[in-house]
Amino acid sequence: MTRSSKNRWKGLACFLLFLCLFLFTVVYTQCDPVLFWKRRSHLTDLLSGMFPMDFAYIPHILTPLFYTIQMSVTGTVIGSVLACILAPACAGSMDFPKWIRYVLRFLIQILRSFPALILALCATFLFGLGTFAGTFAITLYTFAIMTRLTYQDMEAASPLAYQALRTMGVSRFPAYIHGLFPEIAPSFFTNALYMLETNVRHSSILGYVGAGGIGLLLNEKISWLEYEKVGAILLVLFLAVFTIENLSRYLAALIRKECTLKKKYIKLLLFFLTALFVVCTITLSPPDFGRTSLQTMKNMFSGFLSPDWSFFFSTKKDGLFTLILETLCIAFAGTVIGTVFSIPLSFVNTRRFVPGSVAFIFNLLIIAIRSIPFLIYGLIFIRVSGPGPFTGVLTLSMCSIGLLTKRFTEALDAIDLKAYRALLAMGVHPVPAICHGILPQLKPIFISIFLYRFDVNIREASVLGLVGAGGIGAPLIFSMNQYAWEKAGAILLGLILLVWLIDMISVKINHIL
C-alpha cells in the first residue's frame, strides 16, 4: 500500500510540476484567452475569403506541383531508405555498439537543427541551381527526421523476436530486418509517406533552388491577398494529402496483413511504385559543378565553426539566452495545447475505437487541418491576437495537431488491444477502459511523441519567425539573410545544445516513467 500511494504521489507531483511549467509558459508568452474570445470573429474572415475557390487557377498549379512531387518522391525515398538502414544503430533497445549510437545520434541531431533553407542553400552553392540541389536538401532533411522517428518506433516495439534471432547467432542487421522491421514496418511506411506529404506541402525551399514549388506560389498568393487562388491551392494540397494519407493507410493495413491483395497485384503495385521513383529520379536535372560557389560555402561553415561568442553568452534582452527562453516557452505551450487536442482526436480518428463513418469524418477534418500551411495559420491568428508570442503559440498548436494526431493514431493502430478488449468484455465503459487498458501502454509512446514534437517545435523556431511570433526564429532568419554566419552559428549552436539537453532530459523522463 505504501508503495502504491507513494507512486500516486509521485505521479501527482509530476503532473503538478508539468502544470506549473505550462502555466509559466502561458504567462510568459502572453497568452490571453479573453482576448482570443473577444476577437474570435476574426478567426474566420480570412478563411471565408477563400470561397468560392478560383477553380480556373488550378491548371497553373499543376506544373509546380509536378516539380515538387518529383523532387519530394526521390528525396523521400532515398532519405527513408538511408534512415531504415541507419536507424537500428541509433536505437537503445538494440545491441549495436554504444559509440556508434552516440555518434550517429549526434550527427542526426546536428543535421536536424539546420533549417531546411540552409540545407537548400548549401546544396545550390554546391550543385548549382536546379532540381538536383532541391532533391539533395530534401534527402538530407528526410533522412534526419526519418531516422529519428524510426529509432523511436524501434524503442517502443517489443524486442523479443529480435533478441530471439540474435541468440540464434543471426547478425544484427538481418536480425533487425526480419525480427523487428516487420513490426514497425506499418509505421515506417506511414512516416515515410507523411514525410512525402510534408515535403510537398512545405516545398517553398524548392523555389529557392530554382524549381518553382507549390510553396512559393502559395506565399505569393497569400502576400497578394488573392484568397480565391489560395483556396484553390489549398484544395489541391488537400487532395494530395488525402491521396497520400489513404495510400499510407492501405499500405499499413497490407503490411499488418489486415487486408490481403493477390500476389499479382502486389507485384503490380511494387512495379508501379518503383517506376514512379525511377522516372522521378532520372528526370532530375544533373548537378552543375561548373558554377559551385565554394567560397560562400566556406564562409558559411567557417562562420558556423566560429560562432559569435559575445552574442552566445550575452544575457541582455537581445542576447541568446532570453531568445532561447522565449522560444522554449512558445514551443512548450504550443506543444501542450496541441497535445491536449490531439489525444482525443487520435482516438476518433481510427476505426479501432469508433465506427468507420465517424473515423472518416474526423480523418477528413485532420487532413484539412494538416493541409493548411503554417503561414496561413500564422496570418489567421495574427488577425486575432496581433503579432507576438501568443500568435506563435496558437500557430504552433495548430501545426502540432497535425503531426501529433497522425503519430498518436499510428501508435493506437499498432498497439495490442488485447487488454482493452478484455476490459470491454467485462462490461467496462469504453472511456475508463481506454484510461486503464490502453493509456498505460501508450504512456511511454505518447510521452516520446510529445517530446519529439516539442523538440521539432523548438527547431522549427524559424517557422515562428515567419509568423512574427518572437523567439529565436526571427534573429536566425535575419542573420541568415544577412549572411552573418557567425551569429547564425551561435544561434544554431544554442539550438543544438538546447535540443541535446532536452534529449537527455527526455531519456531520463522515459526512465522514470
Partner: protein
C-alpha cells in the same frame, strides 16, 4: 486632468532588422511617445510594440485591427489600403546617382550615400561577372537596346513577388518595355534574400540580379570575402537597367481600430512621431529602420505602386 485616456496603443514593426535589435532599439520609444502624447492631451497607459517577421503579417494585423499602427512598406500598404490609411511617409538619405539611364551608373565608382533626405528610392538591374552578364553589360554601355531574348536567355535572381525593389518595380520596368514581366522569364529564380542573390551573381549561377540601388554601397566591401567574387565588385558588376521611383516605407494606421478612429488622436500621434524624429534620441531609434524622419503622408503618393500591382496581377 482633462487628458484623454487611451488604454493601449499597439504598434507593429515590419522586419527591417532582426526583431530583437528592433525591440532593443525601440525600447525608449515607449516613454518618449507617452510623454509627447501627454503634452498633446492624451494619456496612453500602455504602448505595445511588436515585430512581425513578414510584411504580410503586419499588414494582416493592421487590417484586422489587432495592431493600431504599423511601420510597413508602400507595396504592402497598397495591398491592405482598404483597411488602413497612410499616416506618415518616412524619409531616408539618398545616394549620389539618381539617373534612369543605366550608363550613368557604370562610371567606375560605387554609389555613395548623401545627406539629402528623400521620400523615394530606385531599383536596379545588376549584371554579374558571368559571360552572359558581361555581354549584356557591354551592350548597354555601348548604347545598344537590350532585346527581350537577351534578357530571357539570362538567369535572374529575383526576390519574392511582394518585394517592391526586388520584384514589383523591375517587373513593371520589363512590362513597359517588352510587354512581359518577371514571371515570363524562363530562368528567374527566387532568392530568400538579397545576399543570396549576390552570392549567386558572384558565382555565376545568376547573370542578373534585381535589387535596391544602394546594394553596392552596402556590400561592395564584402564582395570578395563573403560572396566569393574574384575581383572588386565595381569591376565585376554593372547596371543594365534602372526603375522608376519607389516611395519609401510609411507608418499606416488601421481603420478598423477604435483607438485610431479619433481624428484628433491621429493628428497628435503623427505630430509626436515627427517631433520625436527630430530629437537626437529619436533619430537614434529610427535609425534601425534606416529612416531619418517623417513627413505627413498622402495616399495618392502610392498610386504608382497601385498601378504597378494592378498591371502585374492583370498580366497573369
Amino acid at each position: 486632468s482633462d487628458a484623454k485616456t487611451i488604454d493601449s496603443l499597439k504598434i507593429a514593426f515590419s522586419p527591417y532588422a532582426d526583431s530583437d535589435t528592433i525591440t532593443t532599439a525601440t525600447e525608449p520609444l515607449e516613454n518618449l511617445l507617452k510623454e509627447t502624447l501627454l503634452e498633446k492631451g492624451y494619456d496612453v497607459e500602455n504602448v505595445d510594440m511588436t515585430v512581425g517577421t513578414s510584411y504580410t503579417a503586419v499588414g494582416q494585423a493592421l487590417s484586422a485591427g489587432s495592431a493600431d499602427i504599423g511601420f510597413i512598406s508602400g507595396g504592402n500598404y497598397v495591398l491592405f489600403s482598404d483597411d488602413c490609411d497612410v499616416l506618415l511617409t518616412a524619409l531616408r538619405y539618398g545616394i549620389n546617382k539618381d539617373s534612369d539611364d543605366p550608363k550613368d551608373w557604370n562610371d567606375g565608382t560605387v554609389e555613395e550615400n548623401t545627406d539629402d533626405m528623400s521620400t523615394y528610392y530606385r531599383s536596379i538591374f545588376l549584371a554579374g561577372p558571368s559571360e552572359k552578364g558581361q555581354a549584356l553589360l557591354e551592350k548597354v554601355n555601348n548604347g545598344e537596346e537590350l532585346t527581350w531574348d537577351d534578357l530571357n536567355d539570362a538567369t535572374w535572381a529575383v526576390m519574392g513577388p511582394t518585394s517592391a525593389s526586388g520584384y514589383i518595380y523591375p517587373s513593371l520596368w520589363l512590362l513597359q518595355r517588352y510587354g512581359k514581366g518577371i514571371s515570363d522569364l524562363d530562368h528567374a529564380v527566387e532568392s530568400d534574400s538579397y545576399t543570396t542573390s549576390l552570392a549567386r551573381l558572384a558565382s555565376g549561377q545568376a547573370d542578373i540580379m534585381v535589387s535596391y540601388a544602394h546594394i553596392r554601397t552596402k556590400y561592395a566591401p564584402e564582395w570578395k570575402e563573403t560572396f566569393g567574387g574574384t575581383d572588386d565588385m565595381i569591376n565585376q558588376t554593372g547596371v543594365i537597367g534602372v526603375t522608376d521611383k519607389i516611395y519609401n516605407d510609411m507608418i499606416a494606421y488601421s481603420k478598423t481600430s477604435e483607438t485610431m478612429a479619433d481624428q484628433d488622436f491621429r493628428q497628435a500621434l503623427g505630430d509626436s512621431f515627427i517631433e520625436i524624429a527630430q530629437t537626437e534620441e529619436g533619430k537614434d531609434i529610427i535609425s534601425v529602420f534606416s529612416q531619418v524622419g517623417y513627413e505627413w503622408g498622402d495616399d495618392s503618393n502610392y498610386d504608382g505602386e497601385r498601378e504597378a500591382q494592378k498591371l502585374l496581377k492583370s498580366e497573369e
